[in-house]
């Protein structure tokens, strides 16, 4: 018995994954880029949840943030611009045993991939989606994105962005079947981790918008928020995020918000200053598309054959006896 028990322990020890088991290569993001903070939080999540690397897939589109999968020692799918969500949906539909994560930027998700974003919310497939929102196109060198603030000078809007910024949270909360919406900022890593963790644990389409800094193109965009903790409002609730005493001393602008309250969630979502941080909405009751589409059949050749023969029967002209 003792031998068996120690063998089990040994096996557990051997199979335990450390942080480095999820780390791959040296990220090529700029120093101070918010993507680094997200990567750290996600690698920590994988370690804490002990996700099996071979059962984990990170899917991305195109852009700075979409390099994310390359820095994870898991399976990864670095696809084409805007299409991360439908690729991830296909993966999820084929393989419910895989943990699916999506990294998408504000251009990738809210512009070229906007149609997929709206429908992904509606499908509510079980995956964790990080919207890396730095409010600018980085990889293609500083063009305005849909979330760029009005008046922002960029290479495509040299005299200032013409339109009001799109609010990803209000859009997401407006779609039928929305089941998890949260917001984090890259400069409060503790909460970023807590929110990522809560998102992972929600079964359904968990959407986190992460407000992040771009040190290369918009180095000072969030300076006022960084210097004034009052301009960040922390959402806390027993069923949401709990704020540590240390954090509570710095960030005193807080709101007790029940994530089940979608009306208040929508009000909070439309607030851009102060920036709300926490879980805006969670509804564990929304069915997942992959569950709705699941069939109980074990697909043996014999089973396929009998199904096919039954179909042939419908169309068969038998020889006259």
């Amino acid at each position: 018995m003792a031998t068996a028990a120690s063998h089990c322990l040994l096996k557990l020890y051997e199979e335990r994954h450390e942080l480095e088991d999820y780390q791959s290569g040296v990220p090529r993001w700029c120093t101070g880029c918010g993507d680094n903070a997200i990567l750290a939080a996600v690698q920590r999540l994988c370690r804490d949840e002990q996700l099996r690397p071979e059962k984990t897939v990170f899917v991305s589109g195109i852009g700075c943030s979409s390099r994310f999968p390359h820095y994870m020692k898991t399976y990864g799918f670095h696809g084409i611009h805007g299409r991360a969500l439908p690729v991830a949906e296909g993966i999820r539909m084929a393989r419910k045993d895989l943990h699916v994560f999506v990294n998408t930027g504000d251009g990738d998700c809210c512009s070229i991939g906007a149609a997929h974003w709206v429908h992904a919310i509606r499908y509510n497939m079980n995956m964790t989606v990080f919207l890396h929102d730095n409010q600018i196109y980085g990889l293609t060198k500083m063009q305005a994105s849909p979330t760029s603030p009005k008046g922002l000078r960029s290479n495509t809007t040299p005299r200032g962005a013409f339109l009001e910024a799109m609010q990803p949270l209000t859009v997401t909360l407006g779609v039928q079947n929305v089941s998890f919406v949260a917001q984090a900022v890259d400069w409060i890593p503790e909460l970023l981790y807590d929110i990522v963790s809560a998102a992972f644990r929600h079964r359904g389409f968990s959407f986190i918008r992460i407000v992040q800094r771009c040190p290369e193109w918009l180095p000072s965009l969030f300076e006022p928020w960084l210097h004034d903790p009052e301009r960040v409002r922390l959402l806390h609730h027993d069923a949401g995020i709990q704020i540590s005493p240390a954090l509570a001393r710095v960030y005193r602008n807080q709101e007790h918000h029940d994530p089940a309250d979608i009306d208040r969630a929508r009000e909070i979502a439309s607030c851009i200053d102060p920036i709300p941080v926490g879980i805006l909405y969670r509804n564990p009751e929304v069915p997942c598309y992959e569950d709705l589409r699941e069939t109980d059949h074990l697909r043996t050749n014999e089973f396929i054959k009998s199904g096919l023969e039954a179909e042939f029967d419908k169309f068969t002209v038998w020889p006259s006896a």
């Binding site: 899917v59 390359h70 990864g76 670095h78 084409i80 429908h119 179909e311």
Partner: protein, 636 residues
């Protein structure tokens, strides 16, 4: 004017008196093209399908094609609104829709005019025309009918006016929707089809309806049969040799869907588009029964990306579309080619460019499927040439996609999509079905792209396999799937992906020549024109012309020995349903003439002066038209 008088006036030889059926002479014929047309929603489709099914059961060769208006409910009695079915019956196997129509049943004269103007009716064609419009309370309708009738008669058509609605009313109380079965009864009489089988077919057609509905329709069928036996002078018999083997009768789209079922693929992602959608309709109905999923995505791009995601993580998947949808999928197809993810794309071609002719046939997508997507994105292209081929092509495509980790495009078209013809019932083989997804640990040292030096092939690693973790990317990458901009690595990847086509080509058999292997003229075709081209070749050979044909199933890569085959003929030309400039146009010469797709490909590959003849009239090419081309080409 009484009905009998009308008949006398219209049809010489049709007597106004009641004749006993036994007295009627039965003419034996080898084949005939029949049409039944009506306004949308009058059931002409099910009449035509049923006629085809009965004839097939009797052992006749059958080819049915739907006549579909572009709108769901075009206005009643409109020239452009003809909806119905075109059925070619033959003693032997029928491989195409044949030439112009010999006999047509029309429920009003306006839809008939549409067919006349399209040149679809043979001179002297027999027309069985619903006569109720003659006495319509709306004087405009009555006069339009009379005028059209007169015009048809004076154009030499054999017009038989049939009081269909009146006769139906004597058979059943509510006859508004039953004229199609009355027409079926008439056709069963005209072509001496077995009424027992016809009754069974009616029961099958209405199997989801109540007993009462079935009984009423059988009554209508019998009324139509009785009326024709009594009132029509002519009666034909198309001798049939009943098949000794079981056959299935489906259209090309259903055959494609059955192929998806048989291939063991589990996911079909699609977006609705004519004329491909009916394949997905059928699949949606049956796929779940064998554990599959049809996902209707939010758009064509998403459908393709979804399929790629599912394929990447599991078994090869399929996305079904038509031209405009194919254009939208191009970028994603390039990703699958770059990352070497197996994928089957079915393109049921329609008229283009842009929205073009959604319900009409065209072979306009060959070059875009071969060369589409940017950069060098090698993919396999094969074209189904028969309804049976639609079934087997999908199975073949799945297998190639998974063996070579490539995108395989299966081309069909609007003609095959709705064409129904019997083919031997397939016998299931385990080899058709995709193997289970490999979840074994990846041997240490194995890399995600271990390209074989000779063939470019690499084993695919699937998520879930321990030790195989890597990130696939649409960026240039090395054997570890790491992003790499090194010039040598870029060329190594391009080379490997290209060589896979050559490796596949080495496994292909030379195509078989139809007719002699040497002669004066070789016709080359691809896709749905096969039966038509071969019938034309057969007719011309019977006239002593030295013509043969070659039909290509694989377009990319091309099978071996095509140049050797062409060398056996003085002249070579392709026959295609896509655009080519006419050489006799004032502005056209050899420096600017745009050749048809296949002609262009063959000319560039084999450096042979290959001509082309094409027709893009939104309808299948007729064998008679090709005969004319053959004569002209040989007499040049």
């Amino acid at each position: 004017m009484s009905q009998a008088d009308t008949l006398k006036q219209s049809v010489p030889g049709v007597a106004g008196r009641v004749r006993s059926p036994a007295a009627k002479a039965v003419t034996e014929i080898e084949q005939q093209v029949v049409e039944i047309i009506s306004d949308s929603g009058e059931g002409a489709q099910s009449c035509g399908q049923s006629l085809g099914a009965i004839a097939a059961r009797m052992g006749n060769g059958v080819w049915t094609v739907e006549i579909i208006p572009a709108e769901i409910r075009p206005p009643a009695r409109s020239v452009a609104g003809a909806s119905g079915n075109r059925i070619r019956l033959g003693s032997r196997r029928v491989t195409n829709g044949g030439d112009e129509t010999d006999l047509v049943v029309a429920l009003n004269e306006q839809v008939l005019l549409g067919r006349v103007r399209a040149g679809e009716l043979k001179p002297g064609c027999t027309i069985l025309l619903e006569s109720k419009w003659r006495d319509d309370t709306d004087p405009r309708i009555a006069s339009s009918y009379l005028q059209t009738h007169e015009q048809l008669v004076s154009s030499g058509y054999r017009v038989v006016e049939v009081p269909m609605e009146r006769e139906c009313k004597t058979a059943v109380a509510d006859a508004r929707r039953g004229k199609n079965m009355f027409a079926l009864g008439m056709l069963c009489s005209i072509y001496s089809l077995d009424m027992g089988m016809a009754r069974e077919q009616v029961a099958l057609t209405f199997r989801k309806k109540s007993r009462e509905v079935i009984d009423n329709n059988v009554l209508l069928l019998e009324a139509g049969h009785r009326w024709a036996e009594t009132n029509l002078e002519f009666k034909y018999r198309i001798p049939a040799v009943p098949s000794s083997e079981a056959q299935i009768v489906v259209n090309g789209n259903t055959a494609l869907a059955l192929g998806v079922l048989a291939s063991g693929m589990e996911v079909c992602a699609m977006y609705p588009i004519t004329p491909a959608t009916s394949a997905s309709h059928y699949l949606a109905d049956v796929f779940e029964k064998v554990g599959g999923v049809v996902h209707q995505a939010e758009d064509e791009i998403a459908a393709c990306a979804f399929a790629i995601g599912a394929s990447y993580a599991g078994k090869c998947t399929v996305t079904i579309t038509s031209g405009p949808g194919y254009a939208l999928k191009q970028e994603a197809i390039g990703l699958a080619a770059m990352a070497e993810i197996p994928l089957v794309v079915i393109n049921v071609q329609r008229g283009g460019p842009s929205t073009g002719q959604p319900t009409k046939v065209e072979q306009g997508d060959l070059l875009t499927t071969m060369f589409g997507s940017h950069g060098d994105a090698p993919k396999v292209v094969l074209a189904a040439s028969t309804v049976e081929d639609c079934f087997y092509s999908v199975i073949t495509a799945r297998k190639i996609a998974e063996t070579f980790n490539m995108v395989v495009v299966v081309l069909s078209d609007a003609s095959l999509a709705t064409a129904q013809t019997p083919f031997p019932r397939p016998e299931f083989k385990d080899a058709w079905v995709a193997p289970p997804v490999d979840q074994t640990p990846v041997p240490s040292g194995m890399r995600p792209y271990d390209w074989d030096a000779e063939t470019g092939l690499a084993r695919r690693i699937v998520p879930g396999q321990p030790g195989g973790m890597h990130t696939i990317t649409g960026l240039a990458h090395d054997r570890d799937s790491h992003v790499a901009y090194d010039p040598d690595i870029n060329e190594e990847g391009l080379r490997a992906r290209s060589l896979k086509l050559a490796a596949l080509q080495k496994t292909l058999k030379p195509p078989t020549v139809f007719g002699d292997e040497t002669g004066d003229l070789l016709l080359i075709g691809w896709g749905s024109t096969r039966g038509t081209i071969e019938e034309a070749v057969e007719r011309m050979r019977a006239e002593g012309r030295r013509v043969s044909s070659l039909h290509l199933r694989f377009l990319q890569p091309l099978p071996p020995a095509i140049n050797d085959i062409m060398a056996g003929f003085d002249k070579v030309m392709t026959i295609e349903t896509n655009w080519s400039d006419q050489p006799d146009e004032a502005i056209i010469d050899e420096h600017n003439r745009r050749y048809s797709a296949l002609a262009m490909l063959l000319r560039s590959r084999y450096l042979v002066d290959i001509d082309c003849w094409t027709q893009v009239r939104g309808a299948p090419i007729k064998p008679g038209a090709i005969c004319k081309v053959i004569r002209e080409k040989l007499d040049q």
